[in-house]
């Protein structure tokens, strides 16, 4: 830690103006009038913008959200105006002077409420909204999207089931809680260029969205993303960028900065999606799952953003990593009057896993089976099909049974009882398995450029954003490995600049090492071909007989014959004048292959190239007197395909587990009856803190994924996925009561125990 990192908000420049948001105090209300005169009259105010100034709907895949509220507000904290001023405090002071007259409307506070016939409509004109990608809204209702899975024969499945159980779970909306709040600046140059700086996971999406809504040619939009202080999916959404752009446009293109306060970042900007879910499971006498019927109602909040794609993930991986031949799932993204949600680490998987894995534990108990044994027995593998009816092989599915076996060893599963009481303390362990596919668009891709310098070193250009996950470092390691050179000779900047770096779809979905890694593989190959071609002409040898490594190109037959790369990196200068070859610039790109959109009626399709599977465990010690508890251990064994950087890989898995335990145990927005968020601050929004961390254990299985560079699988998000389920399973075991609602605060456990009695 050097303290030298600089975020988007840390830079300033002369003449920079500042923007601040005026936001709605109501969660659902008609806007009768908006009066900005008092705000405009504050000295130092340059402009005030309201929804009427830009009455355009934005959003991907469904265009349902005006950047500033139009006609009505749909969530507490929704931006209704932007004030631009000479100083940040003036903008904030003036924003408080924006007067809006509201007429409150009936509220929808949960996805199940939203689904009830006759529920107040949040989007009356849903039928008119444009959409892209896969999204299936149901106009006249609050359903923003519905995906269906219809696989096998349910009647047969239920008739084979000797045991059936039903579980209902819920998981509230919460915050991404990145260390750095979101921040964007925009400047419109006289030559027509738009320059955006943003704390973002999606600089290239910002570019395409600015292009779509403001009709500026792509090549004229330059997006800079410096080091980002954590994203967790929350910075993949485009929100402040539109507002900063509008603010700059309103003041003649001057540079304007818009930075979220913590409170705004938690509520006005998009949040973690919530879920209510019902799972019915049927099982044969010998413990094989014969049927499952699952309904997910995601709490997407006021606008859909990536909610429909997360609810799609909720359908496509609904079974968890288990073979279920007869399967039915409806997964809905519901509009509610809660803050709107966007992608969150795990992308629908921590949520769907909580549902299916609580059901798995309840079923194991019904069968009186060891919960890991039950999972092992039903683990999905090569030859099985997924809910989307994708036929799996070893490369696509990895090795879950191996993960379970390794987890059992690591945590000495067989040597300890599931529950152990000592005085008023009870120790208990909970397990779960998880899997994840990326649910990326079919055309997601990336490019990479490797530029050789005179001294044989290289610069790597690529669009992966550094958000603390270490991807850019891992990518330089790949380059060094492929070019067989010292990693210290490979350099990469921390910033991404869309003008110089080739496009990467987004830095999300644990896809960067896969997409950029594949592009790097092609770029390295391209560079090697160039080096060999030059060397072949210099050495008078066929290039097929040449090898590269150790800073040289040399003959495979006689490694003593060769030439230093320093002599050919910019072309080989002949002693008598003239040059052979020229600067070596390797270029490569990659796009997803063979992803198939899901059929909206059956779910048949292919959501992504591979699954990552894993098994996890949480151990708790519960104080039965007041239901407080300590988390003692958390463990993960994951099939990483190939571990690229062991330190980063462990760090990512551990960080994911920590985040998942916070999510499971305490993170939640508290709403009052008016759907106002009561805890948009860290003093009342609780997170796992230092000193409360359990001992973490991480191990890997390596089953190569044929499509990926070095055989790797995505692991960036995955530590989080099973933690809610494993913690709930551990605490349910400790208390003997079914704990199906998050977060699992001591009060929640006490109340559930109380209500059960």
């Amino acid at each position: 830690m050097t303290g030298t990192a600089r975020y988007t908000g840390d830079t300033s420049k002369p003449g920079l103006l500042h923007a601040a948001l005026a936001v709605s105090p109501h969660a659902h209300a008609r806007m009768l009038s908006i009066d900005t005169s008092a705000a405009r009259s504050v000295p130092g105010v340059r402009a005030v913008i309201t929804g009427e100034d830009f009455p355009v709907l934005t959003g991907s895949p469904l265009e349902d959200r005006p950047p500033l509220a139009l006609e009505k507000v749909r969530y507490f904290g929704e931006p209704v105006a932007v004030v631009v001023a000479d100083a940040e405090y003036i903008a904030e002071m003036a924003a408080l002077q924006v007067r809006v007259e509201y007429e409150t409307l009936p509220l929808v506070q949960s996805p199940l409420e939203a689904y009830k016939p006759g529920a107040p409509l949040i989007h009356e004109r849903l039928a008119e909204y444009k959409h892209y990608e896969e999204v299936y809204p149901e106009p006249g209702t609050n359903v923003a999207s519905r995906n269906r899975i219809r696989k096998g024969n349910m009647e047969e499945g239920w008739s084979r089931s000797v045991h059936t159980i039903e579980v209902r779970v819920s998981m509230p909306q919460s915050d991404h809680a990145a260390m750095e709040p979101r921040c964007s600046t925009a400047e419109l140059l006289p030559d027509g260029k738009a320059v955006i700086h943003s704390a973002s996971q999606s600089p290239y999406i910002i570019r395409s969205q600015i292009n779509r809504y403001f009709h500026i040619p792509l090549q004229q939009i330059i997006v800079h993303t410096p080091l980002v202080g954590g994203g967790f999916g929350g910075k993949a959404a485009v929100q402040l960028e539109f507002l900063a752009f509008l603010a700059s446009r309103a003041v003649g293109g001057k540079a304007v900065k818009l930075v979220n306060s913590r409170e705004r970042d938690m509520v006005s900007s998009p949040v973690h999606i919530g879920l209510e879910s019902r799972v019915k499971l049927g099982c044969t006498a010998d413990g094989k799952i014969a049927a499952a019927e699952i309904t997910h109602w995601f709490d997407g909040g006021a606008y859909s953003d990536r909610g429909p794609i997360m609810s799609k993930a909720g359908a496509s991986d609904c079974s968890g990593p288990y073979r279920i031949d007869n399967l039915q799932c409806d997964s809905l993204c519901m509009y509610t009057n809660h803050p709107y949600s966007t992608s969150f680490r795990g992308f629908g998987h921590p949520e769907l896993t909580f549902a299916i894995e609580r059901a798995m534990d309840v079923m194991a108990a019904r069968l009186s089976m060891d919960p890991l044994e039950f999972r092992f027995l039903n683990a999905i593998g090569p030859g099985d099909t997924t809910p989307t009816q994708t036929l799996l092989d070893r490369s696509t599915v990895g090795n879950l049974p191996m993960c379970i076996a390794k987890l059992k060893d690591m945590i000495r599963w067989d040597e300890q009882p599931l529950i152990e009481a000592k005085g008023h303390f009870v120790k208990a362990r909970g397990v779960c398995c998880m899997w994840k596919n990326s649910n990326t668009p079919a055309d997601a891709g990336a490019g990479a450029v490797i530029i050789f310098n005179a001294d044989g070193s290289v610069n790597l250009l690529c669009g992966a954003v550094e958000i603390g996950q270490g991807t850019r470092t891992s990518l330089t390691q790949m380059v060094a490995e492929l070019l067989r050179m010292d990693v210290h000779k490979v350099s990469i900047s921390t910033d991404v600049n869309t003008e110089t770096e080739p496009q990467l779809w987004k830095t999300v979905a644990s896809r960067s090492t896969f997409l950029v890694g594949n592009a790097i593989r092609a770029a390295a190959h391209d560079a090697i071909v160039q080096l060999k071609n030059t060397a072949a002409r210099v050495l008078q040898l066929p290039s097929a007989e040449l090898e590269i490594g150790g800073g040289r190109v040399y003959s495979m037959r006689d490694p003593g014959i060769g030439i230093e790369i320093t002599k050919i990196a910019l072309g080989y200068k002949l002693p008598e004048g003239g040059t052979i070859g020229s600067q070596v610039i390797g270029r490569g790109s990659y796009a997803m292959r063979d992803i198939k959109e899901l059929d909206p009626m059956t779910g048949k399709g292919k959501p992504g190239p591979e699954w990552t599977v894993g098994a996890q465990m949480v151990e708790v010690e519960l104080d039965t007197r007041d239901y407080s508890y300590r988390i003692l251990q958390a463990a993960t064994v994951i099939d990483a395909g190939k571990v690229i950087n062991p330190v980063f890989a462990r760090g990512q898995i551990t960080g994911g587990m920590s985040m998942g335990l916070g999510l499971a145990s305490r993170e939640a927005f508290a709403f009052n009856d008016e759907a106002q968020v009561l805890n948009p601050q860290f003093r009342t929004y609780h997170m796992l803190r230092y000193g409360e961390q359990p001992a973490y254990f991480v191990d890997f299985v390596e089953t190569p994924n044929a499509e990926a560079p070095f055989g790797l699988r995505g692991i960036g998000e995955h530590g989080i996925i099973g933690m809610p389920a494993a913690l709930a399973n551990a605490l349910s075991a400790a208390t003997g009561i079914a704990l199906n609602r998050l977060p699992l605060t001591p009060e929640r456990i006490w109340r559930t125990a109380h209500d059960t009695l």
């Binding site: 940040e88 405090y89 002071m93 408080l96 407080s628 305490r666 003093r683 609780h686 009060e747």
Partner: protein, 277 residues
């Protein structure tokens, strides 16, 4: 960011501070005394407090005292909670102070600020309530000393322009057998659902509470129950719960009935810890 301008004064004596406050008040600037400043910053950011001026007390020497003078432990209002804990002069107060906020905040939050703030838990007052401490109060009329129970009832009740200069605690209280229990929603940092502070003086238990109601308190009626011979701890806890000075609190940290459950639990634990000592 604080969305308004305000004036800042840093007097170096009690008299200068009181005079400055009075003058600013007369100018209609709605001044506030400033100690650690954490709460004013918090409220001002949200536009919930809008002082036109603040009078910083930290340069007043008497506000920074932490020492024994003969039989009295004197702690200045501007001594930080971290320093109170670090000094270990009054271990029970140190533990109560350490339960407030997090370490970084406690390096700023002061004893005076915790007692006089708007955030209603004010847990550092609990040891002072059970120790019958005295408060030294400064104002335009000079300095006066009062029993804590006269001035602090749920919250500090000062005359306009007055501020808390020091607390004074009898030495005999700092080493009494004591209990401090803080129950939170979850985790090691956060506001209390219930905080209990109790000492045993002679054969009697004294106790003060925060979190259970919307203000900290010590109750003669509850202490009477706690010291009733022949009643089980369970029964004493049950009766104490019936004698709360106000309905139990419900907020985002927890609801009234869970608070009541913890309150009874905490009382039982305190009785077991102190009885027989």
């Amino acid at each position: 960011m604080i969305p308004f301008d305000f004036e800042y004064y840093r007097p170096s004596s009690v008299k200068e501070a009181a005079d400055a406050y009075q003058a600013l008040q007369a100018q209609g600037k709605q001044p506030m005394y400033w100690s650690g400043g954490t709460e004013i910053i918090t409220m001002a950011r949200l536009n919930e407090d809008r002082p036109g001026a603040v009078v910083d007390l930290k340069a007043i020497p008497e506000c920074n005292v932490i020492e024994f003078r003969e039989n009295d432990l004197i702690i200045g209002g501007c001594v930080t909670l971290s320093a109170v804990t670090g000094s270990n002069f009054f271990p029970l107060l140190g533990r109560a102070a350490q339960g407030v906020a997090d370490q970084t905040s406690r390096n700023k939050i002061t004893l005076g600020g915790n007692l006089c703030g708007r955030i209603y838990y004010r847990e550092a007052v609990l040891p002072l309530l059970v120790a019958d401490s005295r408060l030294v109060i400064a104002g335009k009329g000079g300095v006066r000393e009062a029993a804590i129970h006269e001035v602090f009832r749920g919250q500090i009740r000062l005359e306009p322009g007055e501020f808390l200069l020091q607390t004074v605690t009898d030495r005999e209280f700092v080493s009494l057998p004591s209990v401090h229990v803080k129950k939170r929603q979850i985790g090691n940092v956060g506001y209390p659902l219930v905080t209990l502070v109790a000492v045993k003086k002679g054969s009697r238990i004294r106790a003060a509470f925060s979190g259970i109601c919307g203000f900290p308190f010590r109750s003669a009626s509850i202490e009477q129950v706690l010291n009733t011979p022949g009643l089980s701890a369970e029964e004493r806890a049950r009766q104490a719960a019936g004698r709360l000075p106000a309905p139990p609190l419900t907020n985002t940290e927890g609801t009234a009935d869970y608070r009541l459950f913890l309150f009874k639990q905490t009382i039982k634990d305190a009785i077991h810890a102190l009885e027989g000592r």
